[in-house]
Amino acid sequence: MWDNPKNLLSRQDIENLQTELLRENIDYAFSNVKFYKEKFSKIGINKSSINSIEDIQKLPFTTKEDFRDNYPFGLFAVPMKNIVRIHASSGTTGKPTVVGYTKKDIDTWSDLVARVARSASVTDEDIVHIAFGYGLFTGGFGLHYGLEKLGAAIVPASSGNTKRQIMLIKDYGATVLVCTPSYAMHIAEVAKELGINPKEDLCLRVGMFGAEPWSEGLRKKLEEALGIKAYDNYGLSEAMGPGVAGECETQNGMHIYEDNFIAEIIDPDTGRPVKDGEYGELVITTLTKEALPLFRYRTRDITRLNKEKCACGSIFARMDKPIGRTDDMMIIRGVNIFPSQIEEVLFGIDGISPHYQIVINRVGALDDAVILVEANEHLFFDDMKHQRMLVDEINAELKSALGIEIKVKIVEPSSIERSIGKAKRIIDNRKI
């Protein structure tokens, strides 16, 4: 299954390699990035402070704010002459996060994405339809270069015009679909409207979905609707882009490519490592990047790590699908709630439309949250009794999953705004 022998390193080999690369990288950043030089000098850190992998905890964290403070190129370790690509993340607030790549970085990145694709069973025989936006966002180009390296035939469809995309998928016989999971669902729905049965009329067999959180329930729905096996992968532009981690065919967590990254899980409040296997914030250190070495970057993604050997043979740590982001976490009536928990309940109920939205208001001193779910044929009964029973059932399931009462409201079809990129799941009207 694995093409790359590095996927089969032992835990000891991995840690030795990581320690070695980390030491070199500290030296490299110290000499080439003013920001790190100052940061490391201040607390007396240098290469010789690292003697085992645990010593990484001596290093300070890097955050999104550090990117903002050094906007646009302040964290780059090479002169612009050596930079061959620039990407940026969509900053919802303030300046975007800018990242740069050397020629060698692009090569490393392509290798990583090729490994992710390979482990999702994609080969050079596949025709891959990429419906990620091509642009500053790392998703489009990242997958493109990686899959090209793998030797697959790429259809760089980019985003927009769903009907045309479906025509291309059908006419060119795409076998692999690359996009966000919510857009994949949109494709399935539009295909149905066009009278196309994706399972019979399209050749798709694999979906590589990412760039937004999605649940196991949505995975099943996508697999059912499109007749595919859906794989998850993980990445973030600050660390590289896609290619940080990806699922193997066992689909029991995403293998982190630990020969290129060090992953830690910390308690987001204290910054201390959590116990093995517990949920916390994922922290990533890069080991092989030239243009933008990164130390202990706080991803804000909440997940957990499994370091047991996988059935596929690889010992690379597996991360769960992030259950949310530290900044996505909603506190409703004092209880921490992630949208993914709500999604899990909704998608577990037969016939629930994947289009939902959580609206939070403050009424007096109390939080009032309601989950809007679009009606569809399965959710509409002609009599009140059944209609109410359905709503009661959903409400009861939500209460047992969340620990607090959040009610569902069924709304008319298409009344929740559709997204081409990331789905807008939360409307928080509280002014706190």
Binding site: L379, F380, D382, Q387, E412, P413, S415
Partner: protein, 148 residues
């Protein structure tokens, strides 16, 4: 005997309980050239279920689905009731005696002279037809409703 002739097509539509939605539905039907024969609204604070008997059920259903409403087609029975004291009560007595479960009912206004017409949704329409035909109840067939 063909009992299908007693099944009157009904269209139900899900609407949110907010201003103008009721009107939007009737507008869609009007634009599709559909005439509403009878109508009832069951509603809660959040949502409502609109039910119609129309002259062209298929056209009505397609027009609504096309405009992104969620609609459902099913069948109800039309029963004529003497427009005099105790008429409805007699009918309900028969329905209870026959042990038929009514999911809901509503009136078909001005349908017949000296008689009121009630529309019934039964849990099991076939059993209801069979039992009502063998009792003293005036079950109206499709054509009757069409000509009203």
């Amino acid at each position: 005997m063909d009992t299908e002739v007693y099944k009157i097509d009904q269209i139900s539509v899900f609407i949110e309980n907010k201003k103008g939605r009721f009107f939007s539905v009737t507008k869609v039907l009007k634009e599709a050239g559909v005439n509403i024969r009878a109508m009832s609204l069951a509603d809660t604070v959040d949502f409502g279920i609109l039910r119609f008997i129309v002259d062209k059920p298929k056209v009505a259903y397609d027009a609504l689905m096309d405009k992104d409403f969620i609609a459902r087609k099913n069948s109800v029975l039309a029963i004529a009731v003497d427009d005099e004291c105790g008429g409805l009560s007699n009918l309900l007595g028969i329905i209870t005696k026959e042990d038929l479960n009514v999911e809901y009912m509503y009136t078909f206004i001005n349908a017949l002279e000296k008689k009121a017409v009630m529309l019934f949704r039964f849990e099991d329409i076939d059993v209801a037809i069979e039992k009502l035909l063998s009792s003293d109840v005036e079950l109206l067939n499709r054509d009757y409703i069409k000509n009203v």
